[in-house]
Amino acid sequence: MNKRQKLTLLAGAIIIILAFIIWFYYGAQLFTKTQVLIEKKDELFGTTYKEWQNKFIWGLDYTMYITGATVFICAVLFFVFRKKKESLNENNS
């Protein structure tokens, strides 16, 4: 494993860990939400009712997309960097 491959693995691991940290920060929801229900008070009747409020909640689906994409890109880069080293060795010999 050369330096570039190590760097690729490290960057990939950081991105995946960050994605999971963000997911936990947003409450570890299964699905990404763009709206949440909030309660409001009806002053006339003293009752509460619900309203949609635009709010982004990072879900496990986004986390998995990012994890998948990162693994794929890292695998490609890992392969590319390995080939470059091999072709360099061939040229030198």
């Binding site: 699905f31 009806d42 006339l44 009712y49 619900k50």
Partner: protein, 210 residues
């Protein structure tokens, strides 16, 4: 003997009237209130909680009407309904799945309704406020079952304040009840434990008698 029977009947009749729980408001007699979808106050929401996920949804296209004697709320009759397609969970794909054939099947069963038959266990919270168990037939997914909603109902006489909302006397209703999905032939084998068997439903309505 006949006199005693007559007296007993009269006594029973007046005691029924005396103990009848209703609103002590300006209006008397039979009142009909209509609830129209207003995009704000008239709404039905549901909530399901599991260890895996909480699912909640809302519709603001709920409407209907109720009628009752102001002096005797147990006489309430009416129907509240909303279209299945109006349900929104805040997640586009989830909302679409909810209306699909494997869940509520909006194409085949387009409306969810509650047909009110009577009210029992009426408690007078104030002259214009009542808490009651409202019994009716809840229809969902092609199945109709009797269910009981615990409702708090507030009657507001027409005033400059209520006129800001809408003309006429206003009736505010907040009702809560729960259903078991399996009672309505809603199976969720594919999604497993993501949705609870018991679903809590809350209904908020404000209507006018004009």
């Amino acid at each position: 003997m006949k006199i005693i029977v007559k007296l007993a009947v009269i006594l029973l009749f007046y005691s029924t009237l005396y103990f009848a729980q209703g609103f002590k408001v300006k209006a008397d007699g039979q009142q009909t209130f209509t609830f129209k979808p207003d995009g704000v106050n008239n709404q039905a929401s549901f909530y399901s909680t599991t260890t895996l996920e909480d699912v909640q949804g809302l519709t603001k296209e709920i409407g209907g009407n109720v009628n009752f004697l102001t002096s005797d709320f147990s006489t309430i009759k009416g129907e509240i309904s909303f279209p299945v397609v109006s349900l929104n969970t805040g997640i586009a794909k989830q909302s679409k799945d909810l209306k699909s054939e494997s869940w509520l099947n909006a194409d085949k069963y387009p409306v969810i309704s509650f047909k009110i038959k009577k009210a029992v266990n009426i408690k007078q919270l104030a002259d214009n406020k009542i808490q009651a168990d409202v019994i009716g037939d809840f229809s969902l997914h092609g199945v109709t079952k009797e269910d009981t909603a615990t409702a708090t109902i507030t009657y507001l006489d027409e005033s400059p304040l209520t006129q800001q909302r809408m003309p006429g006397d206003l009736l505010g209703v907040q009702a809560k009840f729960d259903i078991n999905l399996s009672d309505y032939n809603i199976k969720h084998l594919l999604l497993g434990k993501r949705v609870a068997e018991k679903i809590d439903i809350t209904v908020n309505l404000v209507g006018s008698n004009k």
